[in-house]
Symmetry: C2
């Protein structure tokens, strides 16, 4: 836990330079616009602790897999998020001294991420070894309006000297991924160009052959007036720059405006990439920094209008939830159905891949409730596009006839992960993808989606489940052997309840979806059935037989489902009995000891209760919660949120709040000592879930929005925005009452605290909360 960042409702603030925590601050102050992003690095040279990171969405490298012992079926490569050309660089030299905060005294340092308006600001006075004092004020952003561009205003003011200052804005493409498996470089240079104030470089990724052109244009202002300057073009390998030396006077501000673009061959013809970059640069340079920043603020204001959460009485909580929303919005905008939500977004390169089951299980509800319907829809279309690869993936594991297994980690649909117990066995991910289709249709009512995309995916996943179970002669039931459930502290278990449940549920839902699509659009159904050789009668009959005869391990004595077969053979004990100093277990216990213990990394049976909320009564939930939660160590950042939502449902307010706190400020407080590697983007959606689904009690039942909100004891009030089928609402909760405001031009009828309530257009209703 590090609490050096200052609590503020709208900003992340560092006061004074925390040199040792710089990599953490860089992560926290990352900028992104869904298409490109970067860590909160310094523009000028910095030889201290730093992880330079610039990322371009969708551009990846297939790094050769590294394993100890190769097993048949392992993927040949792991798709790494690529650290790309550094476009923010502006070096400052004053005669023979370089500005480098690692080698000078720093005064009045302040670095601020402004989340309300979407920019990063930094100011400080550097006192060089020579005694010269230089004031720096820098501001930059990744534009969400011009989403392949960024802009920087970097202003320097000599405080106690006159003299020549050399300024070198550059683009450096000689970049290495920190986590490369074999320490290789992933980029080759294609071409580069410099012109007056401008410089361009085009790089190509090895193996995958993505081209990315990065360009910059530099303008200088002195005394508020744009000036001409002499510049010297510089070209090294994978590096371009313009160097200029300016006369600067004491107290006079010189402002460097650096405009930059990153165009990739995903979106542009690679043959014309540099020319396109030049055009783009010229356009944004004409627009200018101030206009771009103004547009940025407007765009962010529009976002906050739809997704803000306000918490009164707890600035740290307020800051935490806004930080999470802000980073989620920076990572994924839903504009491009080829993109997804990387575990670190644009804030680091660890883990690699861009898509995990986190997207469906945790992130989807956030985008469903806070953004246009197409954003969530594109997340689903992404998986439909990769269905062919998922079928190939299943084939590699011996499945046939159109069965699909979606990958654990992927960039392009191919499996990247290479730990057999996860790669091959953590197959419940397939269920989460089916569930996301259900969740999306339930929330939006977009049934045509089922016709056009959803059913095809559901059938392919159901085919997988039908082949993956087997008939147990001993049990006279279907069993599923050799799986890893959501709780990764168990490997290769039999009959994981959650996996069995979601498999059978998928089969049920697929049968329903078949009926629905047949009713909605018989021609489309017939076309699909023909195309994918869907033998309806036989496949549905098999599915029904499995649904009717699936084995669910259960303890009749305690009335709880068993996480897996044999769970009760373990030595059962609460987490509180683990001796002091032995947690987190994954850093203190050997793997076998973790596996045979009863301790649970993250919701497993309870994940089922969370997803299939209305298939179990509250007493069953309570029994299972009381049994499993005390054995849960929550060593996954995705764990506490699910428990928080369930505790809210059970009226266990303190537990719900405790669980909410476990991830609300995970990265801001560097709770797990790993924020320096980047932010836990997908688990940020979990905090949102804890607030809106937990404290807010948001559910959709029978096409109707249902809210059961309460305000945690520690807060005065809580308010969140919400979109539902074209209506924008704000739900405000105090200790005593709930007010729901409808901003839309249509009325809405919802269930509030168990009672139906209609709220007219552009009006609000308040209901008291029973004591």
């Amino acid at each position: 836990m590090k609490q050096y960042l200052i609590n503020d409702p709208w900003c992340i603030v560092e006061e004074g330079f925390h040199r040792d925590y710089n990599e953490i601050t860089e992560s926290a102050m990352s900028l992104g616009n869904g298409r490109m992003g970067q860590r909160g690095n310094f523009e000028e040279q910095f030889t201290g602790k730093t992880l330079q990171g610039n990322y371009v969405a969708g551009v990846y490298y297939p790094d050769k897999t590294r394993v100890g012992w190769w097993k048949n079926g392992y993927p040949e490569y792991f798709a790494k998020v690529l650290n790309a050309a550094n476009w923010i660089g502006i070096n400052i030299d004053i005669e023979y001294e370089s500005l480098d905060l690692n080698h000078c005294e720093v005064r009045d340092f302040r670095r601020v991420l402004n989340m309300q308006e979407g920019y990063l600001e930094r100011s400080f006075v550097a006192i060089l070894k020579s005694g010269k004092e230089l004031q720096v004020n820098a501001k930059r952003f990744c534009s969400i309006v011009d989403d392949e561009a960024g802009a920087i205003r970097y202003a320097i003011t000599p405080l106690n000297f006159d003299g020549k200052i050399t300024i070198t804005p550059y683009i450096d493409g000689d970049i290495r991924n920190k986590d490369a498996n074999y320490d290789e470089k992933f980029w080759d240079e294609v071409r580069k160009e410099t012109a007056y104030g401008e410089a361009y470089i085009e790089l190509r990724t090895r193996k995958t052959g993505f081209h990315v052109a990065t360009g910059m244009c530099v303008e200088i202002e002195q005394n508020g007036t744009k000036i001409d300057y002499q510049s010297q073009p510089i070209k090294y390998e994978k590096y371009v720059a313009n160097r200029m030396t300016l006369d600067c006077e004491r107290g006079q501000e010189t402002a460097i405006y650096k405009y930059a673009v990153n165009l990739s061959s995903l979106n542009y013809d690679p043959d014309n990439l540099l020319a396109d970059a030049r055009q783009y640069i010229q356009r944004i340079t004409r627009k200018g920094f101030d206009k771009m920043l103004y547009e940025q603020k407007q765009a962010w204001a529009d976002k906050w209008k739809m997704n803000d959460i306000t918490i009164d009485g707890d600035v740290a909580a307020q800051q935490g939830i806004r930080f999470n929303i802000f980073q989620l919005e920076q990572t994924y905008t839903g504009e491009d159905e080829r993109l997804n939500i990387g575990p670190k977004g644009f804030t680091g390169e660890k883990y690699g891949g861009s898509t995990y089951w986190d997207t469906e299980a945790y992130c989807l509800p956030f985008y469903l409730a806070t953004a246009d319907q197409k954003v969530a829809r594109n997340l689903l279309v992404y998986r439909h596009k990769q269905l062919g690869k998922a079928i190939e993936n299943a084939q590699k594991l011996g499945f046939k006839a159109g069965a699909a297994l979606y990958p654990m980690v992927t960039m392009n649909g191919e499996e990247c992960h290479n730990e057999w117990e996860i790669t091959f066995e953590e197959i419940h991910r397939n269920g989460a993808i089916a569930y996301a289709i259900y969740d999306y249709v339930r929330y939006t009512g977009d049934e045509p989606y089922l016709v056009d995309y959803g059913l095809e995916v559901l059938i392919a996943i159901s085919r997988f489940w039908s082949q993956r179970v087997n008939w147990s002669g001993a049990k006279q039931q279907y069993v599923m052997l050799g799986v890893t459930g959501p709780n990764e502290y168990e490997n290769n278990v039999n009959n994981n309840w959650y996996t069995n449940y979601i498999a059978a549920w998928t089969l049920r839902y697929t049968i329903e979806a078949v009926e629905k699509v047949k009713a909605l659009n018989p021609e489309a159904f017939a076309e699909l059935a023909e195309r994918i050789h869907f033998r309806e009668e036989k496949e549905v009959a098999t599915a029904k037989h499995i649904v009717a005869n699936m084995h669910y391990p259960f303890d009749p004595e305690r009335g709880v489902f068993l996480q897996q077969e044999g769970f009760l053979d373990k030595e059962l004990m609460p987490v509180n009995d683990i001796p002091k100093g032995q947690r987190p277990l994954n850093q203190n216990w050997s793997w076998d000891r973790i596996l045979r213990s009863c301790f649970i990394k993250q919701a497993d049976v309870l994940q089922g209760f969370y997803f299939f909320d209305d298939e179990f009564d509250t007493e069953a939930l309570r029994r299972n919660f009381d049994f499993y939660e005390p054995m849960t160590v929550h060593e996954s950042s995705l764990s506490p949120c699910v428990h928080s939502v369930l505790a809210s449902k059970l009226g266990m307010k303190e537990k719900a709040y405790e669980m909410y706190l476990r991830t609300a400020r995970l990265d801001l407080d560097d709770y797990n000592n790993d924020t320096e590697d980047g932010l836990h983007i997908t688990s940020m959606a979990g905090t949102w879930l804890a607030v809106v689904k937990g404290f807010g009690g948001l559910r959709v039942q029978n096409e109707t929005l249902r809210l059961d909100p309460y305000c945690p004891d520690n807060w005065q009030s809580l308010a969140f925005k919400l979109r539902f089928r074209g209506v924008l609402l704000q739900v405000s909760v105090t200790q005593d009452s709930v007010t729901v405001e409808n901003f839309s031009a249509q009325p809405i009828t919802l269930q509030l605290l168990g009672q139906p309530l209609t709220i007219g257009k552009e009006s609000a209703e308040t209901v008291a909360i029973a004591a």
Copy 2:
């Protein structure tokens, strides 16, 4: 399957140069003497396919572990068998042409490993590009009398020219391990020296700091007379040589004698290593090649007198079994209790480490029956020496109070293996080490061993088992969760029957051993109990409670033990139902598919029936054999032998012979396409088991040797030698009768075919086999 080597009762013969199979031949024709060894490489330069390999026993390198995903508890390094300086090299240059079988025509090529006398011989005529023809006859061996030395006679005869021939005998220490994890070199040079006809180099291993001095002395004969020659010393980095140019005449033989030694700091003071090497070289050079070879033949004759197996009517089988015996004898001689039996011996570097459970489970009986008692004893002392490390290893996994877990793979007692499901969970290896103590004492009657070493090891292993089980509330029995049994096609299972059984058996045997040691030597027992804090009453009571309440999964319907909990939930089917082209499974199925299938890599339940032969009746064996064997794919080279022994016991002669054939010529016929990496040394002991314990029916019961021999239908007769408590026997079996000959000066009473029989000293008895 490759059958290019010629069948011969005593030799491995290659007729004509099989260029593409050269690495296979090199493996098959490896030489060793327990202290050093080498592959059957060429002396002269060869630029074709070759794996140069020279190895020095006990010298290893801790190569940095490579894993995909680090798990807590993994060892930091993997101890690799080190490829050491090449001392056989003799380059031949004729004017501007180098002798290199890759670049010339080869005639009359013949390479022979003579197993009877222990040397490697090679002859050929090389026709160089210039048309010059050179006859080469080479012979070499690693001396088992001077076991740090080797000698070569390399004779060249120009057939159609006179001229100058340049001869460069060298030592090359610039060696790289083929399987280095990060492609690093493991040796540094310490010093080197050359003198007339001599050259020395001392190298030191990185990290481990072993010093190895390799020296050579060269003598030349022409016309059968030793000649003086002028030589030019050559020194490069890690390389020394003497180059000489000789006038050679057509038809005249020039013989190069190269004497070499490898001295390591395991046995010599590193400060004096070069001087010791010089002395050693001088001694063997004085002895001379012919005398050394004569001694070698004598030594091998002595070995064969005690361990030979003869098979009449099947030359391939005869060759196969002798090859296996020969390679086992080359690998381990039992002279040094710090050494063990590496999986590839001195024939390759794959897998690394020198000690696996193979030693106890497969190799020990071979050395027990064919060598002096001290040989097997030293294998046991080896583990006693490493007990401290085994206790440390268990501590790393959370065990305490002197519990020991022996490593899966080791060089010095520390665990090297890094696959969690094996490293941490394949703990039955601990049981095999306890079993070996039992087996040794049973065979030899050496009860003092229990007092001095055995009991301490047994108590430490028993402490591990006592802590590793846990009480299942659900079963009201002890269970053992999260293990991998001998069948590595199951991972992380619960209640593996074999592991539960050997654990409880260890506890039983330890209790017995405590009583025995107390009776034999109460003072020694008291001293031990004090030293290791053995709380007899409590530990014995715990052990008894576990023994009485251990859970053994069992199917009452079939009357079979279950390989593990839940085995009957699998889809049960015989191996024969696996579609064609899908075997071996480990090259065709993904790991998860293998795991959830019923297919068995190697004996698991049946390994228990093999070890604990007299604890189950034949009908139980038959039921379990009939249930498990048809599901066994035998994809471990250690599998068929156990099944062969059991099939023999069950009178299933055809099955026993089929299983015997599966490994009898595994390497000679390159059955698994991997002989090029080196030989499967430990599984060679398995073939011996199939013959002597299977066909021969060798057992020890109640201090008495028991033999139930038969001769497989395909053979006319089978005879094997056997040592038992000071007596040397030969058992000869035909289809009709058994003759047991006693070569010793004392009589022996044994059980032959179920009847007691006394054989007088130096006499023989023949008994008819009932039809």
